[in-house]
């Protein structure tokens, strides 16, 4: 029983983090039909940023995640302006390949500058802190990351559902031309969507620095999981991303514990395949 609670908690905590990583990707995909292959590398950039802020300035990731979010907002917006905008409307695969190139560039830049070594901040405020809950051991940094992730995710959801800017984003996603007829500058909306998408993954990366090591390949697995979450949850659906991410987190932790750690991703991707075969729009697709 203790094991069960432990595995359940672990699954939920990683699921909430996955949700925030995936939300940004989902938004870009849902609004613009653009697959950002550099999404995992955005995460890596945020982690390096918060790692170096911690190492050089001594500011704890508990605070510097805000910088991660802001910095990645601009990275996202700039990516749209310089790369996506020029590749949209060209060959069908152009934006996808362009972002793939960006991902290579970022990954290899960090490999070259920072070496492939794993780097973990030491002496952070929450380092090694745990508490007992219903017989399970809960890691404080992981819990705080999960809670912050949920709060940011709800904030983005609120922005999209309840504000005029959010309606404009949805309108642009549904019918770009009609949105322009309303006086909505759809170019600005795209810029904003890439910014918000970047900020989500930036916040996630910053928070993760509290307990995960950063290295040039760190984005790969997370982006793969994010793709699965987006496809499962439905493109552009934030509740969908949250639900799918929790599902993935739980599947991962349960198979990892009750079957074997080596097969946990087999289970994750098997579920993905099954859902996509039965419901190609995803569970909550538009």
């Amino acid at each position: 029983m203790d094991n069960f609670v432990q595995v359940l908690i672990d699954g939920i905590l990683s699921g909430l983090l996955y949700a925030l990583v995936a939300a940004g990707l989902s938004l870009m995909w849902g609004v613009m039909d653009v697959i950002n292959f550099a999404h995992g590398e955005f995460l890596m950039v945020a982690m390096y940023l918060c790692y170096w802020i911690g190492e050089i300035l001594g500011i704890d990731p508990l605070f510097s995640w805000i910088a991660g979010g802001i910095f990645l907002f601009f990275v996202g917006a700039l990516t749209y302006k310089l790369i996506i905008k020029n590749s949209l409307g060209k060959a069908a695969m152009a934006p996808l390949l362009a972002t793939f190139g960006l991902s290579m560039l970022l990954k290899n830049f960090c490999m070259n500058r920072f070496t492939p070594n794993f780097r973990l901040l030491s002496g952070t405020i929450m380092e090694g802190k745990t508490f007992q809950f219903a017989g399970a051991i809960v890691s404080v940094p992981q819990l705080v990351t999960a809670i912050f992730s949920l709060v940011v995710l709800l904030g983005v959801y609120w922005l999209i559902k309840k504000t005029r800017v959010g309606w404009a984003i949805q309108a642009t996603a549904m019918d770009k031309e009609a949105a322009e007829l309303m006086g909505i500058d759809t170019e600005n909306i795209y810029l904003l969507v890439f910014g918000i998408g970047g900020a989500c993954v930036g916040v996630a990366g910053g928070l993760m620095t509290t307990y995960l090591a950063v290295h040039p390949e760190v984005g790969s697995l997370f982006s793969l999981i994010a793709f699965v979450v987006v496809a499962l949850g439905g493109f552009g659906s934030i509740p969908g991303a949250l639900f799918a991410a929790l599902l993935i987190g739980l599947v991962e932790s349960f198979t990892g514990f009750y079957v074997a750690a080596v097969v946990k991703y087999v289970a994750v991707f098997a579920i993905y395949l099954v859902v996509i075969l039965i419901r190609p729009k995803g569970l909550f697709g538009w």
């Binding site: 005029r164 309606w167 549904m174 019918d175 031309e177 322009e180 309303m182 006086g183 759809t186």
Partner: protein, 237 residues
Amino acid sequence: MSAMLEVKNIHCAYDGVPVIHGISLEVEEGELVAIIGANGAGKSTTMRTIAGLMHPVSGTISFMGEDISNMGASKTIKLGVSYVPEGRRLFSKLTVKENLELGAFATKDRKVINERLEEMYDLFSILKNRKDQIAETLSGGEQQMCAIARGLMSKPKLLLLDELSLGLQPSLVERVFEAVAEINKRGVTILLVEQMVQEALEIAKRGYVVQTGRIVHSGTSKELLCSEEVRKAYMGM
């Protein structure tokens, strides 16, 4: 004094294929003018070009003295040109109220927006009952009213209405046209495009007849309704 809207000899093309071969027309402030013609004549293309969704290959469009030929749609609406597109194009997953709010996107003043919402609910009382309903769940007639109301939310000087009657049952067409006449009475200049020639000319003051990308007749509604040619070609008489 020049007309509110002046379209001078515009040529338009889709991907290099010309579809409009020199159309000129004028709309005076306060008028209700109809462009009529068969399916594929180039009526909607003319409207899309005036609205700024596409740009003429040659020729000019000026609105209240300003050249808007190459201005994008998101800018022309700020000058007071609002286009209710063919097929309504509501934001299908948003509520009626959210659709209307987006119609007033350029306005930031909450009070003004609320006043206009009330005005729309007054004009189309059904929308008030449906305000929290998702747009795609409305009936065709309600959707058309919602689209017109959305187009009015920006308080336009000129309202462009494209094929309002499309897909509506006859009794609803009549109601929608009554509403259009009422909007015109309240001071909004209207240019509308219609395939239902008789109904359109009954509310319009003047009309232009478009055939394969050219204007072939123009005149007051009475003249057009009496014209043998128009009656034969478009009213099946």
